[in-house]
Symmetry: C2
Subunit: 203 residues, 2 copies
């Protein structure tokens, strides 16, 4: 089922649907990292890159994750579950690593400026901000999975505190989505989307 | 500068950078709609598709948009500025149109269930929820623009109320980003991203 040639952006976008049934093929770390490397190229404001992803393949942890997701079977059936999190406090403690080398000659000033911008927000406000940025990466991720020949179902139906507890995550860590992934064993429902005339206005 | 063959997802993700200088080539509506058609294939929870996009090409409106964006020159220089908005109240008034035809035989029950889920939230909570979903679409959009050979710079630096006032948008409408687009007239800065070992953990 692996793709042998690249899938174009528009082909991937137009053909990707949620898949909830998977074969029992396991995924290698390399295969998963290749996909995440593509996803992590997503832009974020100030290049913050707040996304932190946990790849759950351990059967016992996956089972507990399924419990935290109201028992939804795709969590247990997936070769891996990507717990897509956003951690702005980790960013705040490491601002310098996000500064583009092109600005290395004024690193301290850039760090002070960026830190100042975010320290004016509460932890909750920063969390909400980072969650939005992480969803841009989620868009990239879903297309990258399609290109790699993998099925995926992004999910919001879970109890965040249970997932945090399971993975030992701090309260400030946001979880924009769980994404069950694996080799597809079903076609999934066809897409049903608004035509552009419903949501595009020319000014 | 137009692409003559499809760009793969990974090629697009790895080569896309922000572009703030554009040639004076104008964009046709068809060209823009083709890109937005790809972007609008993004998934959203409950298939809500809260995104509503305003394509600003009128020079006078673009000029006022630039004022609302602290005078950032890429807004004025762009062939078009995509004002990416999210309107959950428009969704709430039209839930039935988002229900998959495969569930047509129980349309009323599905509409009641979905409406019930969201009516338990405040307008502000729904707005925050929809904004996140719209950022998934933004990820798709940036890759689709790259595939189409167009440069883009997504922006958060603007005064939302000024943009709302300019376009006649209600207060509940969220604006996750302005995206300046056009034929690129610069290469832009190279990407600078964390390697996956900084943000990926295997469990």
């Amino acid at each position: 089922m692996m793709n042998t040639q690249p899938t174009s952006v528009s082909e991937a976008a137009k053909s990707r649907v949620s898949v909830r049934k998977f074969t029992d093929r396991t995924l290698t770390r390399e295969e998963i990292l290749n996909v995440l490397d593509v996803a992590g190229r997503a832009p974020s404001a100030f290049n913050v890159q707040p996304w932190r992803v946990f790849v759950v393949q351990d059967p016992e942890v996956k089972g507990k994750l399924m419990e935290a997701a109201y028992g939804q079977p795709q969590v247990g059936a997936a070769a891996a579950v990507l717990v897509v999190t956003s951690d702005m406090e980790d960013f705040m403690a490491n601002v310098a690593e996000t500064v583009h080398p092109g600005m290395a000659d004024r690193l301290d000033a850039v760090v002070a400026n960026v830190s100042g911008t975010f320290s004016g927000m509460s932890v909750a406000e920063r969390a909400a901000w980072g969650r939005n940025q992480t969803n841009i990466m989620l868009g990239y991720l879903l297309l990258a999975l399609k290109e790699a020949g993998l099925g995926s179902s992004p999910m919001l139906g879970f109890v965040p505190d249970q997932v945090r507890s399971l993975l030992g995550l701090a309260d400030h860590v946001e979880i924009p989505a769980l994404v069950a992934i694996g080799e597809p064993a079903e076609e999934g429902f066809p897409q049903f989307r608004h035509s552009t005339d419903r949501w595009v206005t020319f000014v």
